[in-house]
Structure formats: C-alpha cells, structure tokens
C-alpha cells in the first residue's frame, strides 16, 4: 500500500468490495480517512480496464470537486503505481453502512424516512451534475459522525460494468425492469434502486430473504405488485415504494424532486420496534404510560396465530387489543395485524 500516496498511513481493512478493499487511513491533510483501492478484476480485458479506469478517475475527480452534505467527500483519486489499481481517498464515516442496519432487522419509519430524504438529496446533487450512481443499496449508504446519511461507492460508471459487477456481487436485486430489458441505466433506474433500498430497510434481511429474490422476479415484470409487506408498513409508504418500483419508467417519479415530494407526506407513526424471527414476528412500542405489543406466530405455511395487547410500563393490568381466536390463515393474520398496527 505504501507505493500509492505519500504521507497516507493505511490502517486496518474496514470493508470489502468486488473491485477492491476499503481501509481506514490517516491522511496528513484530512486526518482520519477511508481509502478504497479498486483493483482490476480478473475478468476485465485490457480495454475494459482502461475504460473503467479512465471513466472512474474522471468521475471520481468530478466528485472530489463537488461537495454535498449527503455525498461522501472524495479527497483525492490517484492511479496506483502498478497500473492495475485506482486509489480513492475519501471521508471516513464512523457510523458504518446501512447494510448492518438491514441485516439487524426492520428499521423504523422515522429512521427510514430520514435516510430516504437524505439519500435523495445527495442523489439529486449527482443527477444535477449529470451523473448516475447506478449502485444505490444499503451497503453504499454511509453514516457520518453526525448521523447523516451519505451516498458512497461510485464504482459503476458504465452500464457494461453494471452487469459485469452485478452478476458477481449480488447487485442484481437493485436493477430496474428496463435495465433487464437492455435500456440502460438512467435517473429513473437510480430512483428504482432507491425504492428497493427503502423497501429493504423497512423489512430487514430476515423478511427480505423469505421471498424470492428480486433478480428472479423483476425481469418478468410487475415486481411492484409482488412485494411482500410486513403488516405495520402503512398504505402511503407502500404506494410510494410501488411508484418507485413500477416497471414503466414513465410512471415512476421522474426525478429526485418528485421523489422527495412523494416521501415528504409519509407518516412516521406509529414507530414500531420490530423483530423478525423464523416462526415469530414481534412488534413493540411505547404509547404514553403503556407498552403496546404484538406478535405473529407462523406455525406453518397454513397455520398462523396473532395477537395485539398492551401492558402498563409500571404496574397494572394487561389489555387485549385484538387477535385470532383460533389458528388462522396467513392472509387473515396479516389483515388483522395491519388493521391494528397501522392507524
């Protein structure tokens, strides 16, 4: 690593990408930074690598000149001495990426709304500069020292690389319908990826993994109508996400300003703390002096049981708010819970 940039002290590895690794580092001018080293992938021909390198250097240099509160600041971009790498020195985000949040479980409505708004602000700035991100997903949203979400990882600068990278790196879940049909990426395919990111954050990995993967469904069309929702996700959120994920780009939000207007009126209450387990999902929140709880037991594909109740935070009696009187179908359980969890 020492041959890359004089004065840069590279520390431990903090992330792994398809093209290379991300390390903590200390830069004499900027203090604590993150250094991403993009290595030439084995499958790249000389021509592909040369194109990738020059486009990536160009785009990263644009980013290094552009500052935005919701875009990870790129301090410098240099080519490695060996010619097989590009080194990007950027702001260090101590809050890590939202991939960890996604893997932990569903994120609350207020937290997702805040992230979605901030990501859209950053994306809007990129779009107005004529750039397409192409790789919006929880892992590429980083949290800075003040808890502000920032868009990072600008690795996919050409459409050819989207498929080359995606096929290996699992990014296929974030490819819009028209990209599968060969139309290429655009402002509107970035908005599709924002919709998928919002959906994933709201549901968490355990729930997301229960359904067929988007990469197996999106290309067949009507993916927005096939989404499986946790019962507490309100109707207005579902409508906005569906609009971002609709197949026809012309029916999607056409730009970030429109998407922000879609997100603006979304309700953030009730803010449930949700745990998704294999056979049981639990919801918790505090309302005044009482704790509201809900659980959904998934005994088998056909047998379900649910209940919602409240308990005093201190002493007092529990109160049943609703529930199934006997084993019921999944559909009935979802409808019953939705009625009591979204209001």
């Amino acid at each position: 690593m020492s041959d890359y940039t004089s004065g840069l002290k590279v520390g431990k590895k903090i992330g792994n990408g398809h093209f290379g690794q991300v390390h903590e580092a200390v830069d004499p001018a900027h203090g604590e930074v993150a250094v991403k080293v993009l290595q030439r992938a084995a499958w790249m021909t000389d021509a592909q690598w040369a194109t990738y390198k020059s486009e990536h250097l160009g785009e990263a240099q644009n980013l290094s000149r552009a500052e935005h509160r919701n875009v990870v600041k790129v301090h410098s971009v240099v080519e490695g001495d060996s010619g097989d790498s590009v080194v990007i020195c950027m702001a260090f985000c101590p809050g890590g990426s939202l991939q960890d949040h996604f893997e932990t479980g569903p994120t609350s409505l207020p937290a997702v709304k805040k992230v979605a708004t901030q990501v859209l602000h950053g994306l809007g700035a990129l779009h107005q500069r004529g750039m397409i991100h192409r790789d919006i997903k929880p892992a590429n949203i980083l949290i800075d020292g003040k808890g502000v979400a920032q868009l990072g990882d600008f690795g996919l600068v050409t459409d050819d690389l989207v498929f080359g990278y995606a096929s290996d790196a699992g990014y296929l879940d974030h490819l819009a319908y028209e990209v599968w049909q060969g139309s290429g990426t655009s402002v509107r395919s970035d908005i599709w990826a924002v919709g998928m990111t919002i959906y994933r954050l709201l549901h968490g990995k355990a729930w997301y993994d229960e359904a067929a993967r988007p990469q197996d469904l999106v290309k067949d069309g009507n993916y927005a109508d096939k989404l499986k929702w946790l019962p507490h996700i309100p109707k207005d959120w579902r409508r906005v996400i569906r609009k971002m994920l609709v197949d026809d780009p012309a029916r999607r939000y056409q730009n970030v300003q429109q998407a922000l207007n879609g997100v603006a009126p979304l309700c953030v209450e009730p803010a449930w703390d949700v745990t998704v387990g294999h056979d049981r999902i639990e919801w918790r929140r505090i309302s005044g002096s009482r704790r509201i709880l809900a659980e959904w037991e998934r005994i088998s594909d056909r047998k379900h049981r649910w209940r919602v109740w409240s308990e005093p935070v201190g002493s007092g009696r529990s109160r049943t708010l609703g529930g199934s009187t006997a084993l019921t179908s999944r559909r009935d359980a979802e409808e019953g819970l939705r009625e009591l969890l979204c209001f």
Binding site: R69, H121, Q128, Q257, L260, N261, V263, P265, C267
Partner: protein, 158 residues
C-alpha cells in the same frame, strides 16, 4: 448574456418554484426550464424546515441560479391573523434564507407587480393564455405557477 433565475412562492406546506433562463434580449420569451414544487415534510416542522432549506439550497446551487425572486409577504385589508398565515411566513423565511445563501434575492409583492408592470392587473395577466404563449417557451408552465412566473416577468423588466 442570458441569466438563470428562479421564482419562488411559499404556502403553509408547499413551495412552488419556476426555474427559467432569461434571454439577453427583452423581446425573447422566458425559457421555462423547470416548473415544480417542494412539499414540506409531514410531522415536526423544525425537521421539515431543515429539509426544505437544504432542498432549496441544493437546487439553486446545482442549477447555478443567479437570482431568486420571492413572492413577498403582504397583508390585504383587515385580515385577521391565522395560524396558516404565520406558517406561510415561516416557510417564506426559510426559502428567502436558503436562496440568499446561494444567490441574490429580490422580494416582490403582487401589488407592486400590478403597479409597476404593464397596464393591467396581475390577475388579468395570469388568466391570459395568449400572454403566456407570448412571454414563455420551453417546458410547460402549469396554470398554478403563472403567478410565480409573473414575478420573473416583472423582475426582468425592472
């Protein structure tokens, strides 16, 4: 040289913006580049104001807007003060501060435009389709945005 300007009008929970290119020659129509609105986020207004401020700053900065014209506060007759008016004034303040951090800002009241532009009342111009066909080109201007565009037409002629 042409100039990039934006017209802004605030209400309780919404800001209408009209982004135009003003040609050098006064005879040429305004080129409508964007006609949209920024909705105020639902819920806590302090957060909503922060979001709106950033949205406004971002737009003006990234579009390299040189001048903003904001529809100014005005009291007509003996209006009783209502919460909505105060909230509109708050939103207007956010927009003025955001715009002023990136470009020069002019505030115009509808009354002032009426007194200083043309022979007719502003509302007459707003209703007049031929006027807009003559004075604007580019993207479609929504009828609801004509009042904001009128600020730009008037500011251009000042």
């Amino acid at each position: 040289m042409s100039k990039r300007m934006i017209g802004l009008s605030a209400s309780t929970d919404n800001v209408i913006y009209v982004d135009v290119e003003v040609p050098d020659s006064d005879d040429e129509p305004l080129v409508i580049l964007e006609d949209g609105n920024w909705k105020l986020q639902k819920g806590d207004r302090s957060n909503a104001y922060q979001v709106l401020h950033q949205q406004c700053v971002d737009y003006i900065r990234e579009a390299s807007i040189e001048e903003a014209v904001v529809k100014a506060s005005a009291v007509m007759g003996r209006m009783s003060l209502k919460l909505g008016m105060l909230q509109t004034a708050e939103v207007r303040g956010i927009v003025i501060a955001a715009a002023a951090s990136e470009c020069s800002v002019t505030q115009l009241t509808k009354g002032l435009v009426s007194r200083t532009y043309g022979e007719r009342n502003v509302d007459d111009y707003i209703e007049d389709d031929d006027f807009w066909a003559e004075h604007t080109t580019g993207k479609t201007l929504r009828k609801m945005s004509r009042e904001v565009a009128m600020l730009l037409v008037a500011a251009r002629n000042r």
